[in-house]
Amino acid sequence: MTNRKLLLEHLDVPGIQGIDAYVKHGGYASLKKALQKMSPDEVVEEVKKSGLRGRGGAGFPTGLKWSFLAKPEGIPRYLVCNADESEPGTFKDRYLMEKIPHLLVEGMILSSYALGAKTSYIYIRGEFMYVLEILQNAINEAYAKGYLGKNIFGSGFDHDLVITPGGGAYICGEETALLESLEGKRGNPRIKPPFPAVKGLWASPTVVNNVESIAAVVPIVRDGGDAYASIGIGKSTGTKLVSACGNLERPGVYEIELGLSVEEFIYGDNYCRGIAKGKKLKACVPGGSSVPILPHHLVTKTAAGEQRLMTYESLADGGFQSGSMLGSGGFIVFDEDQCIVRNTWNFTRFYAHESCGQCSPCREGTGWMEKVLHRLETGKGHLRDIDLLADINKKIEGNTICPLGDAAAWPVAAAIRHFRDEFEWHVTHPEEAQIRNYGLIQQPLVA
């Protein structure tokens, strides 16, 4: 399979963080093309044709989202970039912003032109202060060149780009919590409807997009939507940044063509080069901590025995029974030494800590699951706790204001579904569980 790069193509160019090197390698050409030769609607049309799907996790078609934006007369519209990246295992947006900040800046101006937004915002995770400085620098450079401000490229289009840091809460990555936070309020997700496309920032129509989604608009405008759509399979088009971590020989951020096989991604020389230290694969969470975990036999193959591909559809093949999701592209790999109970507890601890506490199922349910899992992990659990966890799950799932509740429930449900014996072993061998992990002896693993 080819490995075309659309976002990270010039990663290794010295000085690509700065505007001169960026422009020398084709930077701001898409912006110029759009402003001088295309109408805003034509840009939207190209994005629709490209088949680009939101890279923040949900995978909602970006062009379609843009076409839903309400356009009432006399009311401003906003574009907000979601750079709050805090999902455990996901670090691709940070990488992109840090390495090639102008790609996001260009994408923001370009997308704002398409949407008719006079002001746009980048809401960046509070812990990324050094990235904020890199971006602010890029924004200043763009202003100095006249790519931001008044009458950009003589087109009559004015635009201002503002960058704001969050306060360090995962929940502010949920788009409506993000908007609340941007307005200076407590970051509680809003009750929908109204949706941001109708009433978003400052009660005005707003589009919220992930960093990578916005960056991808640059090559889409440059090459055309059809060229972008020619990469990938079916409804999974283009390239995707995947942040690979865990027990891999070569973890890191990779730009892959959607449609690459999971096997090649894990074991291929161009990618992660297999499991670290020659160990065996035990499990994989392919799309960030919110998606269901896959046991080793379902990672590279689907339950039906087909090759599993890095696409929205293939990773979800088998539904929750035997599949998972592409999610945000946080690819976490566990080797044979890792404890699933401990890992599940760790994820749940994160969600319990990050729940905003607004709705009772999530506030109480995540805390409850965390305590039960902690007991199981430390050898103080009962067999009935496993069923209890499964039941708490069901009572959270679908019953909350925002998807954080589901995101907390799914990983636990999947871990119990695929690794129930491991949970039981923690109950039946409480002392042994404290000194070694399950899976080394009991179950011979096949790679």
């Binding site: 009750i191 607004q358 009772s360």
Partner: protein
Amino acid sequence: MVKVTIDGVEVSVEPGTTILNAARQIGGDVVPPAMCYYSKLPGTGGKCRTCLVEVAAGSAADPRPMPKLVASCSTPVQDGMVVNNKSSQRVHDNRGGVVEFLLANHPLDCPICDQAGECHLQDLGYEHGSAKTRYEEDRRIFEPIDIGNKIKLHMNRCILCYRCVYVANQLTDKRVHGVLHRGEHAEISTYIEQAVDNDFSGNMIDVCPVGALTDRTFRFKSRVWFLKPMEAERSCSKCCGKAVVWMFGNEIYRVTARKDQFGEVEEIEQKTAWLCNDCRFEKKEVTDWNVLGPRVINRQSVISQGKYATTIDKPVKRIS
């Protein structure tokens, strides 16, 4: 007008009405319980999830069912919508789940709680709770904070419905309290411990569905069902002066707003009858009030204890 069917009962309502308010127009059994929504406080609702219902048909134009249960307090009806509340096992199970969550960390200190007898969580637990808890962990305990000499905050009992925050935002001239922290550590608190003292802050007590905010001037004085609720009024320059005074003999033990069948402060002459702090906390002499007569009490309520004759007007089913 749009037509909606709830538990098989059809009702016509204004477009934009929520499912919950449509159900309230029908009344009786089909009304879902609401612990956070408060019709007189715009913006409330959506948080507690006790009002979840099943939408069996979205609308006449698109009769597909909605995949998830929806919060009836914040979902507007569509023409031809079919909703199941009481009649749905799924609603029953999930509402039971919500009640279990609300009670998981609740201290269950009803025997020493002033709200007992008029607590919505007690009612909810009675209708949807189970007799035993599956929660084996230590219950959450908050450091007590002092919010002044009029209102007692008992955070361990709070269900974080946010109603009191909306009261402070919408009725008082300055909000000094809110929700701090997040997740299960979220708590109602004042920023850098301040007293909540404002002409209308006492209404927080009336909107609080549980015993998290109680009247300090009434604290531990009596169980509510030993008192006689009497309608009373006085002329007040700050508020409507229309209240319920809770009496024992000729003494006024406490003053509250008048509440409707849904536990909300009543509308009197098209205005919500909020009380000012003077009427609520300072006017405790019978001579302060023009007492109008007994307040009608729901016979199912524990407050009716000892107030109605206990004759049974229908024969009880024979136990064979």
